[in-house]
Symmetry: C2
Subunit: 403 residues, 2 copies
């Protein structure tokens, strides 16, 4: 059946649940039912929502219960905008008491309207010609207030340790050094580094500016030699990203930043579950790389939520798999746990874990590769550290994190 | 000082508060401070955030406290996109534990980059030539699955009671009857009704479609005779609306729908306070009318939050005042309370309170005007009902709500 199924976790009086579910199913589709003339009822039937499930989870007190309600929404009511989906399944409803959107089941006929990731895990690996290990990404630490030469120097310092990717800070909107200029400069630095080390670091430039100029900006940055885009999808809008990623003239991978997503997923009883927001919806929006808080670091996503999110990013179906970039507080001593949890198809993404290395950012990058190599060879980090100074320094500072 | 001040309510250990505040001020602006060379420190100084206030609100247990932290962000770090503001002040931070953005103070130099409402309360009244009373708006009940003739008939039935505005259901994305066709048909109905009653009902059409086509769609709908736009600003994006409302070729008021906003404001300890989201940010986005849940009806906003929201929509400053449309569960017996709370500059917005009238939608519209007229004359509803059948029926069904 071509229905979108939305599942909600909510609090209500036990005796209200079935009327509540019916109110959602009808109110958010055909508006009313029993008041309609018989002939109209027949004609609007295909547009009417239906109750898929009502399940009581636990009693709170004598009257109220926590429950889950799942509703089927006919996809005929929707267009191919993510705005249409969210307005329908969690528009008015988001304001109606203690209620959280915990799951979406999207039928293949509905998903067929979306393209998903243009590159995904495989396309990204093809671009980098790296197939057999996790990728390492470094984050610019200080961006605003820096001159082009300082930024170029920072790029070089981070890159020399061998990192695959370097991304702008997502808060870098300031344009004293415009993105076109940065792309050109870092490309020059990258080509120089390739001559020295045999590997060219790629730069993810923060795609910013007025919404209605973003397509043109993306194309200009592409012409200037941009490797990847970093995009603040939750402050710009999911459909904005979706329309950028599905533009045939934009042939550059998109890295979705989760900035602002916590305002939507962080509460337990309101908003939207992280695996829906950072998983299902980002896939529809065409993310090639999804950054999200790892369950291990300083800013955490719950372990269970994180596992479900990864499952969504890699779920089989019509879309290319998304490359996960679990972030925040990542350091070399976390590499075994990251690879155990996510396998090889993961981006090890670090800011402080690279820049804060006792011997500097270049050593920081090296320490990550030494850790990855050790894991791939099945050698404990402590053992690898004996013959690798950078890794040894990193472990002395941060230790090794075990699951 | 040209700083944006953001205030957060959060939970943390008491002894962490000042390091936490410093981490936000530096981490979300210049990235690092103590590690920078002296000369660099001097140069990035104007970009550095500062702690405005740290205030402990209450102790939770021996260690943790609820606190408020206010941070100054230099506006030089921001561009004039709302995405830049939100990514900076509540991007990464939104994911960092129990934290809520509870206030924004925006300096006039920053606000000068925005236009605010193009029409606002005064412009809207000029368009309708109604100055001395609240406006009444009726909401289409059933939209999807209806033929053009049925929709035209519903429009006429709602309009004949004398309502000023009729809006699409916000979930109406389906285009079997395209918006251009609806605008033309309802305009014809409206002109006919004007000949009959002397008053032309205005139609707020749901502006939908791909993001990068919205400007063209808005202009086409304007050419087709659209009176107002309804816009799902929280599923499309605040900057999308801002760029539409500030387009010089679009000379039509925008009504911002709060669909999906509950996912952001409804939790007490996460997300964004409603008065920031539906007040400050909607003003920046250029809303002429802001729909929000009233504190009285079926889907509620807390009374205090609602009062603060109204204060923001009407706050003096560079922008035209926004017309409030408190909604959900509004019926004629609520009019005295609405007018006592909001004054005359308010839209009385009803769906069920019009369509559910025992004698039908036309009578429903009439009952609202009878209630408004009674309040303006200082006559109790019960007294006015004695000589007004429609009001009498409405009160018999819904009663009168007192504050």
């Amino acid at each position: 059946m071509n229905d979108v199924i939305a599942r909600y976790a909510l609090t209500d009086r036990a005796e209200n649940l079935s009327a509540r579910a019916e109110g959602i199913a009808v109110g958010l589709t055909v508006g009313s039912w029993t008041d309609l003339p018989r002939a109209t009822q027949e004609r609007v039937e295909p547009f009417r929502g239906r109750i898929e499930e009502i399940r009581t989870v636990e009693a709170i007190d004598g009257h109220r219960v926590r429950a889950e309600i799942a509703i089927r929404y006919p996809m005929i009511n929707l267009t191919d905008q993510i705005a249409a989906l969210l307005t329908t399944v969690f528009g008015k409803l988001s304001m109606d008491g203690e209620i959280r959107l915990v799951d979406l089941t999207l039928p293949s006929a509905y998903l067929a309207q979306f393209q998903g990731a243009k590159f995904g895990v495989r396309g990204l690996r093809d671009r980098l010609s790296v197939y057999d290990r996790p990728l390492v990404m470094s984050i610019f630490k200080t961006c605003v207030g820096q001159t082009l030469d300082e930024l170029g120097m920072h790029f070089r310092e981070q890159a020399l340790g061998g990192v695959d990717l370097i991304k702008d800070d997502e808060i870098f909107f300031h344009e004293a050094v415009p993105p076109y200029v940065r792309v050109k400069r870092y490309r020059e630095e990258g080509l120089r580094i390739e001559q020295e080390t045999g590997r060219r670091p790629r730069y993810a430039v923060n795609l910013t500016g007025p919404v209605f100029e973003l397509k043109e900006r993306a194309k200009r940055l592409q012409e200037a030699g941009a490797d990847l885009f970093l995009f603040n999808v939750f402050t710009y809008g999911l459909d904005v990203m979706r329309e950028l990623t599905s533009d045939r003239d934009i042939q550059i991978p998109f890295m979705a930043h989760p900035a602002f997503a916590g305002a939507l997923y962080a509460s337990e009883r309101h908003g939207i579950a992280a695996h829906v927001l950072l998983g299902d919806l980002l896939r529809m929006a065409g993310a090639d790389i999804a950054i999200f808080p790892s369950p291990f670091g300083s800013v955490k996503l719950h372990r269970k939520e994180s596992a479900e999110l990864i499952a969504r990013l890699r779920a089989p179906g019509p879309f290319a798999k998304v490359m996960p970039a679990p972030s925040a507080g990542i350091h070399p001593g976390m590499v075994p746990l990251l690879m155990e949890t996510y396998g090889k198809d993961v981006i090890v993404n670090a800011g402080g874990g690279i820049h804060g290395h006792p011997a500097g950012a270049t050593a920081g990058g090296k320490a990550f590769y030494q850790a990855i190599e050790a894991v791939l060879r099945g050698v404990p980090l402590s053992e690898a550290a004996a013959s690798h100074e950078e890794l040894s320094d990193a472990l002395a500072k941060w230790g090794e994190v075990r699951g």
